[in-house]
Symmetry: C2
Subunit: 111 residues, 2 copies
DNA sequence: AATTTATACATAAGAGTTTTATGTATAAGA
DNA sequence: TCTTATACATAAAACTCTTATGTATAAATT
């Protein structure tokens, strides 16, 4: 688990973006997808993921559908209408954040 | 102060990158420079900055030179040799992080 | 002349997020 | 049979940052 501290604070945005794209996902699926996208670099821990999902649900940004697959429980999460709107904002913030960090790493002459 | 939570965990990297570039800077100068680069979006609070500088110094990554300018105290920080080496690593991590986040926001077909 | 803003440092309490550790349970693979 | 993978969950501790507060000088505004 190489997780540098840089990922701190980005978990909610990651979850919401993946749900926006995929429609619905369950917790374990999210961890595997993130691991795949980051080529194993980012491993979301369960201790971070499940409380985050519960909080987003409590805030009315996600809703859950419980299903039993292969005799195992799955909790599928999807964005609510409110969650969809909020995701737009979060992604805009993320784009700004990335731009700002790139400007710091690779400064334009003039600052 | 709009500081989205995305910036959490990036303060040390920002400080080290700026010092690598500028040679030496004092705390207040760092806050102003970051505000300028991010067009006012990221305002580093003193409660975050000063403890961070002290910690980096305690870790041997920064060293300090105190000077009095216009009858006001300034503490100039610069990277130590150890700090220079560590900065290379932190910047590599930052580049990876940015790439990974971009892959999440703008996914390549195939995941 | 008095008040506010800017410069320049600092720390403590509280909030928020994540890691680490632990727990339960089923299915698949070695 | 034992380990790994799947799938959820929570509590304690660690870490980082915000908010609030404090000191002090200089410059700008009212």
């Amino acid at each position: 688990m190489k997780n540098s501290s840089l990922y701190k604070g980005s978990l909610n945005t990651i979850i919401m973006k993946l749900l926006e794209e995929k429609g619905r996902m369950y917790g374990y699926e999210i961890t595997q997808k993130v691991k795949a996208i980051t080529l194993g670099e980012l491993n979301i821990t369960e201790g971070a993921l499940y409380p985050a999902l519960h909080k987003l649900e409590a805030e009315g940004l996600l809703e859950v559908e419980v299903e039993k697959v292969d005799n195992r429980l799955r909790k599928y999460y999807k964005l609510t209408e409110k969650g969809n709107k909020e995701t737009v904002n979060r992604l805009a913030e993320l784009e700004e954040f990335i731009k700002n960090m790139q400007n710091i790493v690779n400064p334009k002459l003039s600052y």
